[in-house]
Symmetry: C2
DNA sequence: GACGTACAATTTGATGTCGAACGACCGATC
DNA sequence: GATCGGTCGTTCGACATCAAATTGTACGTC
């Protein structure tokens, strides 16, 4: 999955494909590498420590959030885990089916649902998390502590940039037009 | 999606959850941020320039590979795009249905299939790629060229580490046991 | 208490995601 | 020219993924 082709060669081809339209090379490279790294790391985790417990990366992240922060409303879990609330419904169902999490009705608000770990879920996380952290150290082995910090900081600034200015940017790009609907997704019922 | 909670607070909780087992903090932070950044950037792309053409990020990457490198065997496209060959089959089917790519039998090897862009696919990429590159520049706006380079390099080293040593590492972790089967996936047919 | 607005999670439909099983095919060897 | 080990893309099953539609609840106002 690391570009089998050289970066230089790729950029030359991109230039020629576009016939002189200027390209932001450094930005293109850093964004491409973010995706490569995320996929490679996720794959390594799923095929090492998560495989034995039959967890996907997403399922692990959800468990992690509930483990660290305790019983939480589902929308906070979704936000912390970085997935949509619709996705969380499915993931929570899977985890509930395996006896790792529990759903509880909110004591005072009938709309809300709380997620918490079962004893088995707690036990699993106490075992799996240190193993996973060891793999985090493994994949980042070639970076010293300072490089880790600087890289983490740069990535955080990208996240902040999208969070703070992304929505406005998307509005500007649309320039007044209504956003195109997504092709997939639920259709309106006939009345 | 950026941790609503503070890093410091999170780390304290992790410590207490584990009761003294030491954790690699810098590595944990950089890996967490890689995933946050990848998800945020992908979401921004899909909701800005890709939305109008009804492309997912994966579909765009596949188109990009075929656009830049020309007609290619599917296994190379999958590798360059960073997805499994099974996934590529589905994505290529979708793109073929929209008239953006074409499948061609390999001239001398009946097992292989070649992917290439249709004229419509070419036209789409000439229009969409510069737009997407502009969004790459937008999300990386807070990083100067040098920071982009350093960050891209650090991420590349993580990818290389996993590619070069991941498989061996996973073997060591198993320590001679056969790997656990994945729960999902095709089952063997009855004989 | 009926009504309306707002917000919560779930459902839905199309698509992506993986690894393993599978069938078609290649090339070599006998 | 039959067999055999290996490779290629596809199929399969379980799951993840999103946004929009939907259902249900909360909490005002009248």
């Amino acid at each position: 999955m690391p570009g089998q082709r050289s970066i230089i060669e790729t950029e030359k081809l991109v230039e020629s494909k576009l016939g002189g339209i200027p390209i932001q090379h450094e930005q293109m490279a850093v964004i491409a590498n973010i995706h490569r790294a995320a996929a490679a790391v996720r794959g390594h985790f799923e095929n090492s420590v998560l495989r034995g417990s039959d967890l996907t990366w997403t399922a692990f992240v959800v468990l992690w959030v509930v483990w660290i922060w305790g019983e939480q409303e589902t929308r906070y879990v979704a936000e912390e885990a970085g997935i949509s609330k619709g996705t969380l419904t499915g993931v929570a169902r899977t985890l509930e089916g395996r006896g790792l999490v529990r759903r509880t009705d909110h004591p005072s608000d009938g709309r809300r649902v709380l997620l918490s770990l079962t004893d088995e879920g707690e036990k699993l996380m106490r075992r799996v998390f240190p193993e996973l952290n060891a793999e985090e150290a493994f994949v980042a082995q070639q970076l010293d502590a300072d490089e880790c910090k600087k890289t983490a900081d740069a990535l955080r600034r990208i996240v902040v940039q999208v969070e703070e200015h992304g929505e406005e940017r998307r509005r500007e790009l649309l320039n007044g037009q209504e956003p195109a609907p997504r092709r997939s997704g639920r259709r309106a019922a006939k009345p």
